[in-house]
Each structure stands twice: as structure tokens, then as C-alpha cells.
């Protein structure tokens, strides 16, 4: 699995998207905090967080005895740059080409 696969796989699950949304609202949360907002076992939340971490979407930092979870938006940006920009750019250049052609024949 490459980096993009991991990001798409991580985003394919509603619980994981919800966890990212929670971190987007307030970063640097502990597992207990995140768990308290979900109707899921601690083990389940840990499993989802691990997948998010493997995809690089969540970064953890130790602060004293606590492990804090931070949202890392860079992989989403890279997917955007690689996929979305690529297609919009073509569409824009196709339109630009059409304009040139139409204006030349007019």
C-alpha cells in the first residue's frame, strides 16, 4: 500500500472522519477525551487512531504522562495537489484551448 492508498483508506470510514473533525475543532486531545465522545470501546477508538496515524493524518506527542493526538492535514493537501489540482488544471487548459480554437476560426 502506498501513501495515497493509506490516506484514502483512512478517510473511507465515517468514525475516522469524525475523529479528524473532532481534532480539527480542538487539537492535542488524549485518547480518553476522544473516546468519551464516541459510542465505542476504548479498543475500537485506539484501532481507528492507529490507522489514522499510519496514514500520517494523526501525529502523537508525549506530554508528561499523556499522549496527545494532533491532526496533520498535510497528507490531505498532497492528495489534493496530486489529484484534484491535476484534473481542474486540465479542465481549465481544455477550456483555454477551446477558446483559442473558437476565436481563431471566428
Amino acid at each position: 500500500m502506498n501513501d495515497d492508498d493509506r490516506v484514502f483508506k483512512a478517510l473511507a470510514d465515517p468514525t475516522r472522519r469524525h475523529l479528524l473533525d473532532r481534532l480539527f475543532q480542538r487539537d492535542g486531545r488524549t485518547l480518553s477525551e476522544l473516546e468519551s465522545e464516541l459510542e465505542m470501546t476504548r479498543f475500537g477508538v485506539m484501532k481507528h487512531l492507529r490507522l489514522l496515524e499510519e496514514a500520517g493524518l494523526v501525529v502523537t506527542r508525549r506530554q508528561g504522562r499523556e499522549k496527545l493526538h494532533y491532526l496533520n492535514p498535510v497528507p490531505i493537501r498532497l492528495v489534493h495537489d496530486r489529484w484534484i489540482d491535476k484534473y481542474t488544471e486540465h479542465r481549465v487548459s481544455a477550456l483555454a484551448e477551446l477558446k483559442t480554437q473558437l476565436e481563431e476560426t471566428a
Partner: protein, 147 residues
């Protein structure tokens, strides 16, 4: 987003296919920074980091840790906007860790933003992401991001 607030600690991480030395040069040498860092020229010495755009000072920070090619920590005050310039200085840490098969992991932590809420908003969103995405593209392809 309804209200514009941003986190007081922001963490950004990216894998780059480059050596720690190449990443260190790209973040500390002005000839590289202008290609991916919003077009600004950044001069970094073990004492101070200053960024300029067309010789106009944009950002200044005291360098607190200077450990090539692994760790750079510096202060952050933006001067291009009076609101940002009046806020407390915040802190930026760059950590570079070598990984397998020619990759390095770059982690940028922008923290101590409690006294700089507008700066926090300013650097979040696409701010740091554009810089890191551009840095990755530059180091991996030798080309600045098309923009």
C-alpha cells in the same frame, strides 16, 4: 468555519524523499526558500531568522536551537500586518528524522500561539500546508509547485 479560531499548537508532518542535509539546506538557505515559502527569502543564522520579500522585512525570530541537519527552533513574529506584529511571539520547531529507503520525516510544530490568535489563524488552513507541500515538490522534483 463559522468563527475564525485556530489551534495554539499546530503539528504538520510530511515524508520527503531527500536526505536530512538536503532538507536542512532547503529550510535555511535563502536561495531555496524563495521557491516554496510564499516567495520570501529567509536568512537563518544560529542567532536569528529573518524573512524578506523584495527587501521588505516580513518575519523575524530569535533562533533558540540550531542543530544541523536535525533540529531548528526559532521564534515567529510577522511584520507584514500590524495586527500580527502586535501579537506575542510564537515558536516554530523543525525536526528532521532520517527514515528507510532515502526518505526523511519532517515535523513542523508551531506552538506558543496562545498570545497570537490571529497569527494562529493565519498559519493554519493552507499556510503551513502550502509551504510543506511546496518544499516536498521542490526537493523531490527540483521544480517549484506550479501556482
Amino acid at each position: 468555519m463559522t468563527t475564525m479560531t485556530a489551534q495554539a499548537t499546530q503539528v504538520y508532518q510530511v515524508f520527503i524523499k531527500a536526505t536530512p542535509e538536503a532538507i536542512w539546506d532547503a529550510i535555511t538557505k535563502p536561495e531555496f526558500t524563495s521557491k516554496y515559502f510564499h516567495g520570501v527569502t529567509i536568512e537563518t543564522t544560529p542567532e536569528e531568522r529573518r524573512s524578506y520579500h523584495d527587501s521588505e522585512l516580513k518575519n523575524v525570530g530569535e533562533v533558540m536551537e540550531y542543530d544541523p541537519p536535525r533540529r531548528l527552533v526559532h521564534g515567529w513574529i510577522s511584520y507584514y500586518d500590524p495586527v500580527l506584529a502586535a501579537e506575542d511571539p510564537s515558536r516554530v520547531s523543525w525536526e528532521i528524522e532520517p527514515q528507510e529507503s532515502g526518505y526523511s520525516l519532517l515535523t513542523v510544530t508551531h506552538d506558543q500561539l496562545e498570545g497570537a490568535p490571529q497569527t494562529a489563524v493565519n498559519v493554519s488552513g493552507t499556510g503551513w500546508m502550502m509551504v510543506l507541500s511546496g518544499l516536498k515538490t521542490l526537493l523531490e522534483t527540483g521544480e517549484p509547485l506550479a501556482g
